[in-house]
Every structure is written in C-alpha cells, then in structure tokens.
C-alpha cells in the first residue's frame, strides 16, 4: 500500500480515539516542549553573556597575581595575591611590543556620602585607558587626566546607579564633591549605563578613580596591584602579546625554566570559550533531563500501540486475507506511531517556543534583564528527528507483533 493511503488509515485510527491519542501525545508534548525550552534558555544565556562581554575590547588580556589556581600544588599563600608590583607595570609599559593599552587595577570598598545620601560600592583604581578596555563610555564630563593620575588627584568618575542613589533627579553631578571613605573627591565624569548583566549584577554601581589615589589615600598599606588589564593591538596578536608580557614578567620575577610562575596571563577569549563550554555542558545536562520525559512519552506510545494492535486484531486478519503483506501491516502501525509522536512533537515545539518567547518578553518588559532567549532552527529539526526516531523505536515491536499475526487466528479473534 502506498504512503498516502497508509497516512489516511493512521489518521483515521488516531481520530477514532481522539482522547486516547491526545493523552498519549501529551508525554511527547511535555518532553519536546521542555527540551525546546531548555535549549532556548541555554542559547539565551550564552548569547547574553557573549553580548555583555562583547562591549569589552575583544583583545583584552588580564594579568592576575599568583600561580595558576588549577595546577597549584599546596595551599594558596597570602603573598600570592601581592605579586604584581608597580615595577612590573613599569616594565610592561616600557618593553611591550604588541599592546594597545594598559591599566593597573586596585580595588577598595567605598563608603560614599553626598549631602544626606550615602551608599556603599566598589571603587576601582585604574588609569585613563581603562574605560576603553572595559567598554565603558564616559557620557558626561571626562575621564581623569594623566596629570591627575600623576598627582594622585582626588577625582572620580561614577556610574549611573551612583548618580541615582546620591543625587536628586536632574541634578548635574559634574563638578560636585562627594566624600568617599571620608575623603572629599570631585566628580569629573559620569559613565554611560550598561544595565544588569546576566547574573543580575548592576554594572552601573561603581566608581573609577586614579589608581594612584586609591593606593595612596585609601589603601596606603597597598604596594601591589590587584590586577593589570591590557589590550592587544588586535585580536590576532593576543597570543603574541600574552607571550611577550609573560616573558617580561618572568624576567622581572627572575623565574627560571620549570619554576612555578607567580602570576597568570589570561585572555578574554579564553574566558569566553570557557563560559561557552560550561554553558554548553549545562544546557546538555538540562536537556537530557528533559529528554527523559520524552522517553516516558515513547513508552506511552508503545503501550497504546499494543492496545491498538490487540483491538484491531480482526481488522489485521481481514487486511491480510485481502492481500496485505507483512510489510503493509508493519508500515501501517509504524506510521501510526510516528504520526502520534511527530504530531506530539509539533505541538511540543509550538508550546515550548511560545513559553520561551513569552518568558523573554516578560523579562525584557518587566525587569531590566535583556535575556536573549531564542529557539534556534536546529533545535526544532532535532525535536522532529527525535520524535520520528521515538515513533519508529517504540512503534517497532507493536507493529512487528501485528505483522506477524497469523491471518486465520486474527480473523477468529474475539
């Protein structure tokens, strides 16, 4: 019998037991929609993280104090955090061959007071090149000058959230003086808003100050940098630049071949690919869990197909007596199973995609999250492929049972 007729028969059989067929499909619908939602969330998380990072210069290199944590033997010693000295920064600044920009970074907690308002935040001690590296734009005013860095001037650039916390609406912060840890500091610039990142952290809740000022006036005991940021001339030179910086620092720290390095050079690229693989693994795990419900749905199909074969034993006998071959009967029941699972898959994809895009809509419009949830075309194809396979796999034995019936017994079946 040809495919079209087989489809008609299958459709009729499914239509004859609408409720039963729907309940059977439900397992597949739930399975497929949860897989689609999981993959859409995973994709969204990945894209969102990528977008957040993209604002940063793609050639960014981070120089971190201390040995590589993963390969470290023994405990982490306190002095490991203090290995990046101003002399290292100087050497890199003078000797580097592939860097476009370079900025030290020191952190301090900051207790901010302005009039009657106060707020605590993190103060980043950096130089004037830092906004370009981190993808921040000074929207009002300007970044502190080299001169101000040199003189450890009491100036700062503040994020949008700080403005909202400390100032009245419409007030212009530029030129005003706030107190940070009781030190009067002049506001010279305001950063453009970046919103929240994927974890919900406010990226506008920060203060930038000259690193010299932070070290001298806020953390006078600090004679090291917490980090050094740099960017390569271009993305192709990232590896060269990393090697170059590593050599300069090894020479400075007098580290011999084979000795443990007391600093670490990492690129943003590496971080991105790590996020990628972690997110990928997480998505896979969640999808597999969702996939288990698909398995349960498949077993439901198998069960109902056995019922269907038993119910229609006489019909099978009749079809055989008028000339249906083993193959015809087999195909008839296989197609019925596939039709149930693929229809379930179709509904599952629609429901899954609707929920995913609805969640994205809600997050975008009612919170400040820009979570880029999206159903990728390949996940839809995958869903249909899996449904077809499920149908064939779980329909196989019932169909085989039907096809192997003895026509005489089948005709006599009561």
């Amino acid at each position: 019998m040809n495919i079209t007729n087989l489809f008609k028969i299958a459709m009729k059989a499914i239509g004859a037991n609408k409720m039963r067929s729907f309940l059977t499909m439900l397992g597949i619908i739930i399975g497929v929609s949860s897989v689609i939602i999981m993959l859409a969330l995973g994709h969204g998380a990945k894209e969102t993280i990528k977008q957040d990072i993209q604002e940063t210069d793609p050639g960014t290199i981070m120089i971190i104090p201390g040995p590589d944590y993963e390969t470290l033997e023994g405990d982490w010693l306190p002095e490991y955090s203090q290995t990046l000295k101003p002399a290292d920064y100087q050497s890199i600044l003078e000797q580097n061959k592939y860097l476009k920009s370079l900025s030290p970074m020191v952190f301090s907690d900051g207790q901010l007071v302005c009039g009657n308002n106060n707020h605590s935040t993190t103060v980043y001690g950096v130089n004037d090149q830092y906004p370009a590296i981190s993808g921040q734009v000074v929207e009002k005013g300007s970044i502190f000058t080299e001169e101000e860095i040199h003189s450890s001037a009491k100036v700062c650039v503040i994020g949008k959230s700080i403005v909202d916390k400390l100032y009245d609406k419409d007030a212009d912060p530029i030129g005003t003086v706030i107190r940070i840890n009781n030190i009067p500091v002049a506001v010279v610039g305001v950063l453009k808003s970046k919103g929240k990142d994927i974890t919900g952290r406010d990226q506008d809740d920060l203060v930038l100050m000259p690193y010299t000022t932070v070290m001298k006036r806020m953390n006078p005991w600090q004679n090291y940098y917490n980090m050094i940021y740099a960017t390569a001339e271009n993305e192709k030179m990232i590896d060269l630049a990393m090697k170059d910086v590593t050599e300069i620092l090894r020479a400075n720290h007098k580290i011999k071949e084979g000795d443990m390095q007391d600093f670490n050079v990492r690129s943003l690229e590496q971080a991105v690919s790590m996020v990628d693989s972690v997110m990928g693994a997480l998505t896979l795990l969640l999808s597999c869990i969702a996939g288990i419900s698909l398995l349960v749905g498949g077993i439901g199909i198998m069960n109902i197909m056995y019922v269907s074969v038993t119910e229609r034993t006489r019909e099978i006998g009749l079809r055989m007596s008028v000339g249906a071959r083993t193959r015809d009967i087999m195909n008839q029941f296989l197609i019925e199973a596939i039709l149930i699972s693929v229809t379930g898959g179709l509904i599952g994809v629609l429901i899954g995609a609707s929920i995913a895009y609805f969640a994205r809509f809600i997050l975008m419009n009612f919170t400040e999250h820009h979570f880029l949830i999206a159903v990728e075309p390949w996940t839809v194809l995958l869903a249909f492929a899996i449904c077809t396979i499920t149908g064939v796999f779980f329909g196989w034995y019932p169909a085989k049972k039907a096809a192997n019936l003895d026509p005489i017994d089948a005709l006599r079946y009561e």
Binding site: M1, L318, M320, S321, P407, L411
Partner: protein, 248 residues
C-alpha cells in the same frame, strides 16, 4: 465443454499439533474444481471444512499434498507471495462479514485494491462502485458499516470479494448469521454471479442450500466422503418468491 481447472488438490493433509497430540484435520483430500462451478462443501462440525477453505484461500498451507490455484503451485510459496496471490485471485466472504468499522461501503469494497499498487485511486473507486451496484447497493455507497443491516453488510462483503475479479470466491457459512429470507436473497446473488461465469466455493451446514449449487463435496472426519454433481439445480429466485414477506 472442457473448462480450465481453477483448483487442483492432490492428497492434501493438514495436521495441527496441540500440546503433545496431533489433530488430523484433513487426511488426504483430492479433487479438482473447474472454472464456472458453484461448489458447496458440506460436513459435520469439525469435519475440516474451514481448514480446507483456509488452504484453498492461501491463508494456510497444507502439511503435505499439492495445491495448484489457477495453475500456480501454492505449497512452496512464501508468505508475501501468498498475500499477493490472495489479493489477485481470491475473494473471501465470511460468516461475520468482517467489514471495517465506521467505514463507508465504498471504502470497504476498495480495500483489496488498496493493496494492489497497479490500480490507481480513480480506477479503484470506479470498480468499487460497480461492484456495489452489482450486489444491489448502488444507493448505499456512502453508508457506514454500522448503519446497515446484516444482509446489506454481507452484500458489501460480497462486493469486496468481487472487486478484484478473483479466480474463485470462497464463502464460509456466508448465510450463517442471516434469517431465511435474507439467506435466500444472498443465495440469489450467488446464483447470479455463478450464471455470469464465476467460480464459487460455498461452505455450509444447510443441506437445502446445497440444492442450489452445481456440485456438492461432503467431508467427514477430514476425508472426502462424497463428491456429487447436482443434476437438478433449484432456482433461488423461485424459493425467495414463495417465502412470506415479513410484516411491518
């Protein structure tokens, strides 16, 4: 006139193994049926009539012996080959009609042609309609099986057995579920089909029915007891006319 043989049986045996026992349902049956014969097969219950008919219909294979249908030896055929043979050469009529539920008369009759890829949708429908007209159901084409009387359902089943233009029509107790009047209506139909040259094999318990066929084969305990050519064939139309019409 020498008609061509449609069915040739030589020493057909059929044993069923039930547990440790062997049931000899057929113990060496031989006969030949020619084109255009209307044969009734009689015999007591358990004498092997259905077993024989299943073998004739290629639903079952004999344990030993030779069976040629329309010249083709059946015993050595594969399952698929026998399915194709049933599809092209045989029409079945069952005691319990065996129509597809919730399916129209036309669709039921189309069924055998569905399994013949050489026949397109258009021809399939035309032939089904013609067959239904032939059995007097030209006005019931789209009635569903559950909307019909027993007699009508059996007519649909006969149309289904005719639609593939088979070499032989096999009927097992085809009137067994019907009242006397309806039985004779069906018998009239069979006699008409026979008059048109069709070969019919009709299993029955009813000796009266045998009088309307051209030949009667009687089985007893799996063996052929009597094979008699009927010289005085009765006309079912006459009998039908004599039966009282049921009062409304």
């Amino acid at each position: 006139m020498a008609q061509k043989p449609v069915i040739e049986l030589e020493g057909i045996r059929r044993d069923f193994i039930v547990g440790s026992e062997t049931v000899h349902a057929l113990r060496g049956v031989s006969f030949t049926i020619h084109e255009g014969e209307f044969v009734t097969i009689m015999g007591t219950s358990g004498s092997g009539k259905s077993t024989l008919l299943n073998i004739l219909g290629c639903l079952d294979t004999p344990t030993s012996g030779e069976y040629r249908l329309d010249g083709t030896p059946v015993r050595t055929m594969s399952k698929t080959q026998r399915a194709v043979l049933r599809n092209r050469k045989i029409g079945f009529v069952f005691q319990s009609y065996n129509l597809l539920a919730k399916t129209t008369a036309v669709e039921n009759v189309e069924l055998p042609l569905m399994y013949n890829s050489a026949i397109g949708a258009r021809e399939r429908r035309d032939r089904a309609v013609t067959a239904l007209q032939r059995v007097g159901l030209g006005d019931r084409l789209n009635h569903k099986s559950n909307q019909m009387s027993g007699g009508q359902m059996q007519r649909v089943a006969i149309a289904r057995a005719l639609v593939n233009d088979p070499a032989v029509i096999l009927a097992d107790e085809a009137t067994g579920n019907l009242d006397t009047r309806t039985s004779f209506e069906i018998l009239v139909l069979f006699q008409q089909l026979h008059a048109e040259g069709r070969t019919i094999i009709f299993v029955t318990h009813n000796p009266e029915i045998a009088q309307y066929s051209t030949r009667t084969i009687t089985l007893s305990d799996g063996k052929l007891r009597e094979d008699r050519v009927n010289t005085n064939i009765l006309d079912a139309t006459v009998k039908l006319a004599s039966l009282p019409v049921e009062e409304e």
